[in-house]
Point group: C3
Chain length 269, copies 3
C-alpha cells in the first residue's frame, strides 16, 4: 500500500521550482511513494490538452495509481479540488473539466472535495495550491488514508462536452484531437466506426479529407507507406490517425487540433 505510484501531469514546465516542490512535498510525507511524471509540458492553462494526455495513457498504469493532475487557471478561486475514486484508480485535480473523459467513461466509486486542512501543508499560499494542498493530499492518500477523510461528497462538477464524431450515410465527420511530437494527427474517430471487423475490411475502400486534400492511402502501419507519403491508419489509441511515413503530416497538411476531418467510404461490394 505504501509503495503506491503517484503520477504527475501538469502545465508547470520543467524550468521552474514548481515540479520539484510537488515531489519534495510528496516524499516528505511518504518517503516510499513512487513518483512518475506523465508530462509537465501541457501548454499553459490548456485543460483540453491535459485531459487528452491523461486519458491516452492512464489505463497503462498499475491499479491504485494516484493521478495528480494540475492544469489550474482558477488557482486561488473558489473552484473545488476534486478527489475521484474509480474502480481502479484515484485522481486529484481542480474541478475545471480536466477529468471530463474520466468522469464520462470510467466506473466512478466516489467523488470528494478535498477540504480537510489536516492533509494540507501548515501554510497555504493563494497561488500554488498544487504544492500546498493537492500534493500533500496525494501523499496522504498514498499512505492509506481513505478517500472519505478528505472532505464532503461531491455530486455536481465541471464537465466539458467531449466532441463526438458523426456518421451520416457513407461519411464520418470528426476532428483532430491532438498532434503528437512526430506530427501525427490523432482524430476522435474510433476504429469501430469504420466497421473493419471480419471479412468486410478487405471489401471497403476509404478516403480521408483534411486540409483540402484527399488521402486515399489507408494502411496498417507507418512503415507500409513510401517516405513522405500521407496516409491514415488505426493509431495506438484505437483512433484514426493521419501520418506521413518518416515525415510530419501536420506540417504537410497545415491543419491543427480542432480542425475537421471527413472519412468517406468509397465503395463496398
Amino acid at each position: 500500500m505504501k509503495h503506491r505510484v503517484i503520477s504527475l501531469l501538469t502545465d508547470f514546465g520543467e524550468d521552474d521550482f514548481f515540479v520539484p516542490s510537488l515531489k519534495g512535498v510528496i516524499l516528505k510525507i511518504n518517503p516510499l511513494a513512487r513518483i512518475l511524471d506523465i508530462t509537465h509540458r501541457i501548454p499553459s492553462f490548456d485543460i483540453m490538452a491535459g485531459g487528452f494526455i491523461l486519458y491516452s495513457c492512464f489505463k497503462y498504469f498499475p491499479t491504485k495509481t494516484i493521478f495528480l493532475v494540475i492544469v489550474d487557471p482558477g488557482v486561488g478561486s473558489s473552484r473545488k479540488i476534486l478527489l475521484v475514486e474509480t474502480k481502479k484508480y484515484f485522481f486529484i485535480a481542480p474541478d475545471n473539466g480536466i477529468l471530463s473523459h474520466i468522469l464520462e467513461e470510467e466506473n466512478i466509486t466516489q467523488i470528494r472535495e478535498v477540504t480537510k486542512k489536516k492533509y494540507f501543508l501548515p501554510e497555504v499560499s493563494h497561488t500554488f495550491e498544487g504544492r500546498d494542498k493537492m500534493a500533500p493530499a496525494a501523499a496522504w492518500l498514498s499512505k492509506g488514508i481513505p478517500c472519505v477523510e478528505f472532505g464532503p461528497e461531491v455530486t455536481s462538477y465541471e464537465s466539458h462536452d467531449v466532441h463526438k464524431p458523426q456518421a451520416k450515410g457513407n461519411e464520418i465527420t470528426g476532428q483532430v484531437l491532438y498532434t503528437d511530437k512526430f506530427g501525427n494527427l490523432i482524430t476522435n474517430i474510433p476504429e469501430r466506426m469504420l466497421d473493419l471487423s471480419g471479412e468486410r475490411r478487405i471489401k471497403k475502400k476509404f478516403s480521408l479529407y483534411a486540409g483540402g486534400r484527399e488521402i486515399s492511402s489507408f494502411r496498417k502501419s507507418y512503415s507500409s507507406a513510401k517516405k513522405g507519403e500521407l496516409l491514415f491508419l488505426v493509431g495506438s489509441l484505437g483512433l484514426i490517425e493521419i501520418a506521413s511515413r518518416a515525415s510530419n503530416a501536420s506540417n504537410q497538411l497545415k491543419i491543427k487540433n480542432g480542425d475537421i476531418v471527413r472519412i468517406v467510404i468509397k465503395s463496398e461490394k
Copy 2:
C-alpha cells in the same frame, strides 16, 4: 539511511549524456538512492538562476536530502568542490557562489572541501567533474559516509551579494529575481516589507511601478483579477510577484530579471 534522497540541479539540459551519466554513477554506488530532479534547464553557466531555483524549493524536501548542484563554468580549474552540511540538509556544489542564499540564511553545521580520491571515480576527466567527482561523492554520502571523511574543513568560500530591497519613506525599491514559465515576475520584496499583518492590511493601498507602468491592482490570487489584467500579489514564496490573469505579465510589461520594481504606499489612515 541508505534510502536517502539525492536531488539534482544542473545546467546540463536533457538532450545529452550528462544527466544520465550522473544518475548511473549514483545508482552504481548506492542502488537504493532515491534520485529526484529539481531541474536541468538552468541557462548554461547561470549561477544566479541556479541559486534561485535551489533556494525556492529546497525547504520542501525531506530532511537529510542531498542536493547535488552543478552549474560550473569553472570546471577543471582550481575552484573547490564544497560539501555543506546544514541542520537539515546536505549540499554538494562548486565553490562559485551558487550556494550564496543557503550559506547566508541556513544554519551551517560544517563546510568541507571534497578532495578524497577514494570517493571519486577511478578515472577523473578535466571536463566532467560532475560525473567523476561530485556524483560519486553524493552517492557515498548517501550511503552514510560522514562529511568529515570527504576532505578538509573550509572557512572561506565564494558568496554573491544577495541583492536586498530598500525601504525609504513610503517607497520600497526591489528588483525582479526570476520570471517563471507563466510569465509571472517574482521580485525580491518579501511580504513582510508591506507590513500586511492584522487589520492594517485593509487600510493600505499600494501601487507597483515597473516597465514604465503603474499597477494598482494588489490581489490575493491570480483568479481574483480579470483576464489579461496586470496585478501584483504575495506569491507562493512569500515574495511580491507581478502577474497577469491567465496571461503573461513578462510579455505585457517587457521587463526582465534584474529590472527595478518600486512599490509605493499610496494612502494609510
Copy 3:
C-alpha cells in the same frame, strides 16, 4: 534481481503520452523496477544520435541494467526487435543499427529476437510497439525471465559503419560526432591517436583545423582558456572536443555533426 534498473532512451519527446505509457506498462508488470531516463530528446528517427548518446553513458550504469532503446522509424514493419545480452548489460532495441557501437565493441553473450507473445501486452498496435512489445519485454526481463525465453537466436543484424578517424603522416582526419548543449563539438578522434602518453605529451604541438579556422590552443580543461577563446581538449569521453571557454564553439565555428576535422602535429623534437 527484481530491483533491476530499466533505462529508457527514445525519440518520443516529453510532451506526449508515449513515455508515460512505457513507464506505466513497466511498473504494472514489475512494481519494483527502477526506471531511469537517459533522454527522450533524440531528434525524431535519428538512429545515429540515439546510438551515440547510448554509447556515451551506458558504462556508468549498474551491472545488469536493462537499456530500452526506442528510435524506430520502421515500427510496424518486419524489422526485428532485438534483445542483446553483453557481459554486463541487456539491450532491447529495434534491429536498425542503433546498437552498432555496442555490438562492435562489447562482449556479446547472446542476441535474441523478441517474438514470444506471452511477454507482450494482450493487444498489440501496429504503431506503438514500444509500449505493446518492448516495454513489457523489458519488464519481464527485469523480473528474471531468462533471455532464451523471449525468442530465437539471431545471427545477422543491422549494423552501421562506425566512421573511424584516419592517421596519415603528421595528420589525423576525423569528424564531428555530436554537438552537446554547451556547443562543444565532440569528434571521433580518441585521445590515444595523439599519443599523449608519458613524457611525449609535453614535446608535441598540435593544431586543429575546422570550419576554415586553425585552432592552436590545446588545453587540459575549458577553464584554462580565456573567455570566448576557441580551444580543443580531451573531453570526458576520451575523445577530442572543440570548445570555447564559457561560450559556444558550435556557434562560433558554424560547423555541425559529420563535418570534417583535422589535427596536425606541428612539431616534435
